[in-house]
């Protein structure tokens, strides 16, 4: 007779232990798995609104005061702007997350890991090995498919890995919603590094154009990472088919690539005799909508799963038995 252990803490549990999707839980972790964490959603919402407000504030300030910075001051201003989305979310999240807060160190750790993976692997892979800037814009086909296959998969995999290989196996990851939390953190970390590199490599960017790109990048990366985080969160606490996780990462990659392509399309105004320009506002709107929709969807899905679980589909869940290896 095999031992039954909680799938989370590996403590032995009784045969009548609670189950979700075929896995056993001890009482404590069962309650935790289905825990709602409204702070996440509130923080997410605040984040979206806050970033939009941030953009507007910067645009207004720079536009009205006709602020022109040069050299070091422009660079530092850009760096500060690049750090704002992460700080903002951390602020919102920790503020909201009062009840049984996630350990701050863990969230920040995943955030930093996301950033480091971007710097060490993600950006070099995309920019140097694949040399994306050179061939992606050549045709529409290469633009879409390349954005998905190269940029999307690289970014999403690294963000997924930042969660999967650090906090996912630990006890700290004990709620379905933790997937979204840590996913978002990894996404924001990745985005922050992308933004920092964007500002620093250009030697300082125009603040008005820069803040747009920073916010769009942050919203997009956080959303898609949150999506793959949702898949991770489900995978830890339920038996899912083999294609669940790869499917989730692929879906995030697909959305990532499509988003990149669409954003490029809608922000490029056509060429006329008066000039050809870039209107970044549609991009911001698209990013906000995508972020809102993604989080809303994930929120709904997790809530539904939690409700279903608590409503009693637990003790009689299908029992999977396999030959021990």
């Amino acid at each position: 007779m095999e031992e039954v252990t909680c799938c989370v803490c590996h403590c032995p549990v009784g045969a009548d232990a609670k189950r979700i999707g075929g896995r056993c839980f001890c009482e404590y972790h069962y309650a935790k798995a289905t825990q709602e964490r409204p702070s996440v959603w509130r923080a997410g919402l605040l984040q979206i609104l806050g970033l939009i407000a941030f953009v507007l504030v910067v645009e207004l300030v720079v536009g009205l005061t006709d602020l022109t910075l040069d050299g070091w001051s422009l660079l530092i201003a850009g760096i500060v702007l690049a750090l704002v989305p992460a700080l903002l979310w951390l602020l919102f999240f920790y503020r909201q997350d009062r009840l049984e807060p996630e350990p701050k160190g863990a969230v920040v750790g995943v955030f930093v890991l996301g950033a480091l993976l971007a710097q060490a692997v993600g950006i070099p892979l995309v920019e140097q090995v694949f040399d994306v800037r050179r061939w992606l814009p050549i045709s529409t086909w290469s633009h879409i498919i390349g954005s998905i296959l190269v940029v999307g998969f690289t970014q999403e995999f690294l963000k997924y890995a930042a969660v999967r290989y650090s906090i996912y196996p630990t006890l700290e990851f004990d709620e379905r919603v933790d997937g979204v939390v840590y996913g978002t953190a990894a996404g924001l970390g990745y985005a922050t590094m992308l933004n920092l590199r964007y500002v620093v490599d250009s030697g300082g960017v125009n603040l008005q154009a820069g803040v747009m790109r920073i916010v769009v990048t942050a919203l997009a990366q956080a959303s898609f990472a949150g999506l793959s985080g949702y898949f991770l969160g489900r995978a830890k606490f339920e038996d899912e088919p083999v294609w669940w996780l790869p499917g989730g990462v692929s879906l995030a990659a697909l959305l990532n690539g499509l988003f990149t392509y669409l954003r490029g399309e809608i922000t490029t105004t056509g060429l006329t005799l008066s000039g050809g320009g870039v209107n970044p506002w549609p991009g911001l709107i698209l990013a906000a909508l995508v972020a809102g929709a993604t989080f809303a969807l994930v929120f709904y899905l997790i809530r539904r799963a939690n409700r279903l679980t608590l409503a009693g589909a637990n003790a009689k869940g299908p029992v999977t038995s396999e030959r021990g290896v």
């Binding site: 075929g22 040399d131 038995s321």
Partner: protein
């Protein structure tokens, strides 16, 4: 009863599946890159008796001399160029003479021309003579501010009956190695 070892196995499979899928996607992405950057379209010049392949999204100019010039509009301040010319050559003359006269023409037209090395190479089953050279391209337009570009180039002489076919590759030194592949594919595709 659920063995605590079995769920990890499926989880492990799932982990490997993710990695597999990502590697596959990157592999496909690499193929896409190859297809985008290195797709060619064919051409035929000189009354159709010389044919070959040039990169598909390069600007192509046909004329009398050179017969064909293809350049990459996206390659920055100096557009990487592939040029095809023929020069008449008496049957008893060595093809290297054509190289020499081409080098003189070029030296007269540009600044700081230096021939670097001359070798024999194998091109598509034939032997040919190849010369690598460098020069500085300075734009003479007084109304624009253009920095001079150090250009590295290769001339290859292919021998034909009564004439030689000269294939030239010109690129800024920064992009010479990166674009060399286009030249190799171009030269090897020439049929006459």
């Amino acid at each position: 009863m659920i063995a605590s070892k079995t769920t990890p196995r499926r989880d492990r499979w799932a982990d490997w599946a993710v990695i597999l899928v990502v590697v596959a996607a990157l592999g496909l992405g690499f193929l896409l890159r190859e297809n985008t950057l290195y797709s060619y379209s064919s051409f035929a010049v000189g009354d159709g008796d010389i044919s070959g392949c040039v990169p598909a999204n390069w600007l192509r100019e046909y004329g009398d001399d050179p017969l064909l010039q293809a350049r990459d509009p996206r390659s920055g301040a100096f557009n990487t160029k592939l040029v095809l010319r023929t020069r008449p050559l008496a049957p008893e003359m060595e093809p290297i003479l054509a190289l020499q006269s081409l080098a003189m023409e070029r030296a007269d037209a540009v600044n700081a021309f230096r021939a670097l090395e001359t070798d024999q190479v194998a091109v598509g089953g034939r032997t040919a003579i190849q010369r690598t050279f460098t020069y500085v391209q300075a734009d003479r337009n007084p109304y624009l501010d253009r920095l001079p570009v150090v250009v590295k180039g290769v001339d290859v002489v292919l021998q034909d009956a009564g004439r030689v076919i000269l294939v030239t590759y010109l690129a800024s030194v920064d992009t010479f190695d990166r674009d060399y592949r286009y030249f190799r594919d171009f030269v090897e595709s020439i049929a006459f």
